[in-house]
């Protein structure tokens, strides 16, 4: 294949990956930004979204799009409730201590994985895409559903942005993020905001999971990769910075596609992992973040 179509394909793939990554990583980033905790179970919320999509597809009669739309509503809602419950039952009780949060969310990760294994089973399960249409380029075909993912991600990011900037709830969230004590001094129910933020973060991951599953399949171990990649994105983008997270997701999504043109994929993964570690060591505010103080 010539280099031009090659690059076109890599770009398309990169955009799709960037979209999914943006949603997942934004969830992680919003939680970190507001609560200053790292949620290691984030990938499992992604997985639950995908599994939820499969369950909806199983239970909903009628055309695939009906199950898909149902999943888009139901799966994030359930995941959000679960996350809020986890916040109430665990995180609140350890007072959002950063290290204890990491350990207990590792525990949560195992629990979710294993419960899904016991109920959903070990098989990878496919879900029908809501529509099938392959866009044929002269050199290769491309799934229109994948492009739909990109559009959906843009819409969702815009919605999140509106929620944060334009709504009363968003205002309370931002106030809590900047100064928890003062927020309390103005009657803001900080613990409810925290539960809400944790739920919203999880829902972002779940939506990404629903979107991805017609493309991949639902599997109980599928949360691992999105988690690591989200870490990468959130750190490179600057912890808690939303524009930085988006920029980093696009950068990493695109470069991942392009890097694999030149390197073997495992080597590319090693390189990006090391990059993250070194960014944290030498530029802890992230490539896009501004230094604090």
């Amino acid at each position: 294949m010539d280099i031009a179509p090659y690059l076109l394909l890599a770009t398309l793939e990169g955009l799709v990956q960037a979209s999914v990554l943006t949603l997942t990583a934004l969830g992680l980033s919003v939680v970190f930004g507001t609560m200053r905790v790292v949620n290691v179970a984030h990938g499992e919320f992604f997985m639950l979204g995908a599994v939820g999509a499969w369950v909806c597809a199983m239970l909903m009669p009628g055309p695939p799009w009906l199950g898909f739309v149902t999943a888009l509503i139901v799966a994030p809602a359930i995941v959000g409730l679960l996350a809020a419950a986890a916040d109430w039952a665990i995180l609140k009780r350890i007072d959002y201590d950063p290290e204890a949060t990491i350990i207990s969310t590792i525990g949560l990760m195992y629990i979710i994985q294993q419960v899904v294994l016991m109920t959903f089973g070990p098989n990878a399960q496919a879900v029908d895409a809501p529509f099938y249409y392959t866009i044929r380029f002269p050199w290769f075909g491309y799934s229109s559903y994948k492009l739909f993912i990109v559009v959906a991600a843009i819409v969702l990011v815009f919605a999140l942005w509106r929620l944060m900037k334009g709504s009363r709830v968003g205002l309370l969230m931002r106030a809590t993020q900047y100064d928890k004590d003062t927020a309390q001094n103005f009657g803001i129910p900080v613990d409810r905001v925290y539960s809400g933020v944790f739920a919203v973060g999880a829902m972002m991951a779940a939506i990404a999971g629903v979107l991805v599953v017609p493309n991949q399949q639902a599997h109980y171990l599928m949360g691992h990769d999105p988690l690591l990649l989200s870490f990468v994105v959130v750190i490179v983008g600057g912890l808690g910075s939303i524009p930085g997270t988006i920029a980093a997701a696009v950068l990493i999504g695109l470069s991942d596609g392009l890097l694999s043109v030149f390197f073997t994929p495992t080597l590319a993964k090693i390189a990006s992992t090391l990059l993250v570690a070194l960014v944290l060591v030498f530029k802890p505010e992230g490539l896009f973040g501004k230094a604090t103080r």
């Binding site: 090659y6 890599a10 793939e13 990956q17 294994l117 098989n123 990878a124 290769f140 075909g141 991949q216």
Partner: protein, 428 residues
Amino acid sequence: MKKSALLLPSRRSVLAGMGGAAALLAAPGLVGRARAQSGDVIRLGAPFHRTGIGASYGRWYEQTAKAATALINEQGGINGMQVELVIEDDGTDPKRSVEVMEKFSAEHNVDAVFGTLFSHVVAATAPRAGELKMPYFICSESHALASGAFNRYVFQPSITDVKSQVISMAPWISDNLGKKVTLIYPDYAFGYDHRDNFTAAIEAQGGEVVADIAIPPTETSFTRYFPKIPFSTEVIYHVMVGPGVLTFVKELGEHLGSQGPELFGFIDSLEAVQLDIPQLSFLEGSHFWEGNPRYAQADQTDFDAFYREKVGVDENGAAMGDPKNVSTYAHMFSVWETLYAMKAAMEMADYKGPDQKVAMLEAMESIQGFDASNAFPQGQKVFNGKTHQSFGHQYISKVVDGKLEVQHTTSIEDTFYPDETDYTKMSF
């Protein structure tokens, strides 16, 4: 050199005073139960991949093993003894698998262990089996055994190893599909077996591998690898495992469209996956290797019908009454057959208990093969006592109307290659 056990204190020097401490730690069930009486029952350790990456296989391996054991016991057991399965989960994890092997040996006191599938798990466990002097029958396709990497306690009496499979496929591929082949395989050991053996085999046929594309097993999206497929490719040879395989096949289809090269795949990619789903419609007309045909063929043997019924699988290879619950049909026969192979060896050696372990293993090595039967429903086998490896028929099937139809059955001779080791020269 005489190996000394100087560091091992004599068991007679048990200190009476330690009894209390022992009782403390040895909560009920912790101390290995002593074998009630030698010869009352044959206990077989069955480490299956209940969890981890191999879990969809493990579930069916377990079901098959249970069915075969029930049948053997119905027929009077082995040498008059009932067979008892001791099943443990190895998590598809090499570390855990070694521990499980020890547990079988030292705690459950099993007579033999069988049923491991994934080759990295086998690689970790086989040496430990040798040390524990535990007969270990694998169902894995791994070529490591026949290449001499293991020891005299390890056997593969049913499923044919990757090298044989590949060698027997290559002539048919080059004759029927094309000579310029692009390989797509997982970037780890199992994939390298395919790459190395197939490259050699297709070149022997006058063909060539125009590109080989290794994909990390953790990958979830594959489209970006496909541009590496050269335009000159006539055949894409693909073998993938793991949870992402369906995506792989689907994206391959989307990418190539209808006018792409021929596809030849190993069914490993689609084990436990329904074929007649819209995502896979483009596979129509492509070819697959099958270890055992998933769909009951027109010329189905009585043996296959019998086996299907006992394992609880319908004519489409899915669980009875649940068409979505597809089995790992192309591989799981090896568990059934391995049990019967063990039975045969034990009966030859008139096996009554672990004292006759060596006799049983020697009997196994002396076996020349097995005839197609209810015990060996996949077909006839030739067994090589030197390499501990079995050879059998391989099936090439074409996807027709969302079902696999066998197009070609290789002869057993097609799978032969020169011996690479001789385990009989090793000591027990």
